[in-house]
Amino acid sequence: MLARTKVEQIITWWRFHLTIYRRLIGVQIRAQMEYRAAFLLEVFATMTTLFLFFLALALVLQRFGNLGGWRLGEVAFLWGTVEMSFGLMDLIFSGFDPGRFGQRVRRGTFDQLLLRPVNITVQVLGDEFVLRRLGHVFQGVAIFALAVYLADIQWTLGKILYLPWVVIGLICFFGGLFIMGATITFWTVESIEVVNILTYGGSEMMQYPMHIYPDWLRRIVTYIVPAIFLNYYPALYFLDRPDPFHLPAFAPFLSPVIGVGTLLLALAFWRFGIRHYQSTGT
């Protein structure tokens, strides 16, 4: 009986907070859809601007032939998975964007959220929902589709089933980095641009095959911030490429484990940060 009430409590908790989250982002979606033409234009503009970067790389690659032995389709595979995951992550975790969250802490508007009797993490999650980021996601999907067309991937049941887990792993990983970056601003107050090295720098690094980086940098992204397992190793598996670093055969399948692990670690750090938070008094 006792166990049953416990389960019921958990279900009620989740149901309540999901409703809160839905309402929080529902309001923002309605507001952003108010000017439908402007919204569609923004989505389109984001998508074309970002796609232009990829087009530029494709044109340059045409001249050079390959990038560290990888051809356009294979680089596009990395680029597409990172971009669509980062775009989706940005949609979900925008409230934790270190730059914007730092501003909240600085201005003291974070304190208002703390006063409400609703879970703080859910509130920050629902705090910013920038629908135009869909442009970023669409662009990633377009590049991924191009990769599938160009790279001649030998699809197997295993690969089809694993693909969504790679995207989930990447979303959790980047989301975790956003949360850690946001938490740091509790102490630094100033939103620190250095955090961008981790988030935007990390995503940019992951757009290219990791074997082109110098050894010391590659060791960092293997053993310290294990980004190499999130899309480079999965890419080796999808593209049937040999592993140049001879890690165990399960290395390509670590993506969801490390992604979810990073997110959980970040949430623990976030809770620690909240407990030690002192307002700036503004």
Binding site: T48, T49, A56, L59, E193, E204
Partner: protein, 263 residues
């Protein structure tokens, strides 16, 4: 003219107060620059030279573009838009200097500080880590100074023009993101323009963007010499003038439409 220099000096002082941000920005620029250098090195592979650029030139290129980010506000500049949203524009329009020159003075101060604190220091830090190409001879240095100044003028004209969109629409930031994003690629900031197919280079030269970044880089690397150097500088000057003219026309049209918000 005195007011112009006083505003410039004000902007210099204002910019110099952001010391922590400057340092953080410097580290970020350096990191991304070296990351881009690694990618270019991987593209070169065993090649020594591509399109007249050696590997060393290509690495120097990544340093130069990173050094230009703050100087030319390559990631975008929305100060004028923000002043429209806050209503500050009302007071600024009354200044006895002309609206274009008012912002020109402020941006000159900002750019000068950025050129030294962010631009020069990036190149010095770069020089510690990698072999940099350095301009040779008096002519090239003078060409570089002229190209640098003109690139700022062109960049300012473009940024001012884009920001004027806020006189018409409260959604000007979206327009700005698109405008500055296109400049990323077409200016030669993303990759050296010489690496692109000829049709793409021709296309980019129909826009003012190469005059912002690409010309400075090619002058610095010594890829433009003699008449080609003079021609590039003339093109920069022409774009600077054309954009300034366009700005004044659009500004005149916009003043009638301006809706001052808040205040």
């Amino acid at each position: 003219m005195r007011l112009f220099w006083e505003l410039t000096l004000l902007a210099v002082r204002r910019q110099l107060t952001y010391r922590a941000a400057t340092l953080a920005g410097l580290m970020t620029n350096l990191f991304f620059g070296l990351l881009r250098a690694v990618v270019l090195m991987a593209l070169y592979g065993a090649r020594e030279e591509v399109a007249g650029m050696t590997v060393q030139d290509a690495i120097t290129y990544t340093g130069l573009t990173q050094a230009a980010i703050a100087y030319l506000s390559i990631f975008g500049w929305y100060d004028l838009m923000d002043s429209v949203y806050t209503g500050q524009v009302g007071a600024d329009l009354l200044k006895p200097l002309g609206y274009f020159r008012f912002w020109l003075a402020l941006d000159l101060g900002r750019a000068l500080v950025a050129l030294v604190t962010r631009g020069l220091s990036i190149l010095l830090l770069y020089a510690l880590v990698v072999d940099l190409t350095v301009p040779q001879g008096m002519v090239q240095w003078m060409g570089l100074a002229a190209a640098l100044f003109l690139s700022w003028l062109v960049s300012f004209g473009w940024r001012f023009l884009v920001n004027l969109a806020s006189f018409w629409t409260p959604n000007a930031r979206g327009i700005g993101r698109f405008a500055f994003g296109s400049a990323w690629v077409l200016s030669g900031f993303f990759m050296p323009l010489r690496f692109f197919p000829q049709w793409f280079i021709d296309l980019s030269h129909l826009t003012p963007f190469p005059s912002m970044v690409n010309t400075v880089i090619e002058v610095y690397l010594g890829l433009l010499q003699g008449p080609a150097l003079l021609q590039a500088l003339a093109v920069q000057l022409a774009w600077a003038a054309a954009l300034a003219l366009l700005c004044s026309l659009v500004l005149r049209a916009g003043l009638g439409r301006l809706v001052i918000q808040g205040g």
